[in-house]
């Protein structure tokens, strides 16, 4: 009788220990995932909102929402889900800005205009930076950032997810909530526009 009680107690202890081990292991996986993605996510947000502190706040909020709501999803889905949340947070941030002095601030990633013609991409190149901006273009990275910043929202997202995050077309489509065809179109237009803008600097 006493032996049975002892075994039952030990089994319970083992069960709790097992659950704790699994939780710890899960935490380690999550920690590694976030550690791996956080810098690129920050750059992604920073290029989008052009404000370091805002970008950091957005990344932190994204991390918390992701861990809280999607930690139990398969790890293969984590990256696309993370960027989906990040995209939404950036949209929220952009919408919260009451005054917009630049056209890209109006909306970030827009309203699912995947299949609509992109008037900005189709428009002739009217790139005419101010002297200050032109001086900044001496630096290739700044030139790239500025050019990417000026891209239409969906193009910018597709380009950064593919180029910065290194996501596949399918993964990018999941993160953007659109078709792979749309991703290809946006990415191609983005590269085409960047080539037109950066041609002199990136020969």
């Amino acid at each position: 009788m006493n032996c049975g009680k002892t075994e039952l107690t030990m089994s319970y202890g083992d069960l709790v220990q097992l659950q704790e081990d699994r939780t710890l292991e899960h935490k380690q996986f999550m920690d590694q995932f976030l550690k791996d993605i956080e810098r690129r996510a920050f750059r992604f947000a920073d290029i989008a909102v052009r404000n370091r502190d805002d970008a950091l706040d957005i990344v932190q909020d994204t991390m918390i929402r992701f861990v809280r709501n999607y930690a139990k999803r398969p790890q293969a889905e984590w990256r696309a889900l993370f960027y989906k949340i990040l995209r939404n947070r950036i949209i929220d941030h952009q919408r919260s800005q009451s005054v917009s002095v630049r056209r890209h601030v109006i909306t970030w990633f827009g309203y699912n205009k995947d299949d609509e013609p992109d008037p900005i991409a189709a428009a002739p190149d009217t790139y005419n930076p101010t002297p200050d901006k032109r001086a900044a273009l001496d630096d290739a990275m700044e030139a790239l950032e500025y050019a990417v910043e000026e891209l239409p929202d969906r193009q910018k997202q597709a380009f950064l997810l593919r180029s910065l995050e290194g996501m596949s077309v399918a993964g990018t489509a999941k993160a953007m909530g659109c078709s792979t065809g749309s991703v290809k179109t946006h990415y191609h237009r983005a590269v085409h526009s960047l080539r037109a803008v950066l041609g002199d600097h990136w020969s």
Partner: protein, 137 residues
Amino acid sequence: MTIDNELNREERKLAEQASEKLRASVDQLDAATLSRLNQARQRALEELPGRQRYLALRWLVPTASAAGAALVAVLLLQPSSPIVVDPTAIGSIAIAEDILNDQSVDFELLMGEDDLEMIEELEFFAWLTTEELEAPG
């Protein structure tokens, strides 16, 4: 067909250069930014589902078990517990009432070491009393 196949040579080259520079910029973040990111990650990890649950489980179950055991003990030790004397089991409601109303019966004693034996014997004593009352003479 991949998307890169849709780009011409210059565009493909630019895309590769852009990708390299963007990735390189990730490695050039300043210490303050990296520190903020680390703090953000630690803060997020505190939100892991299940972590708090299992921590709570570790204490909740033993505590609940102890509380349950205490509750059972209190119910068993309660002096006025109706399960101690069952009039129908005694066979005589009047005698049972006498026993229950008898202030000399110390129910605390019934809950002593031999409580179970005494409860079983109570039925015998009741029967014996009945026999004596009904016996002629």
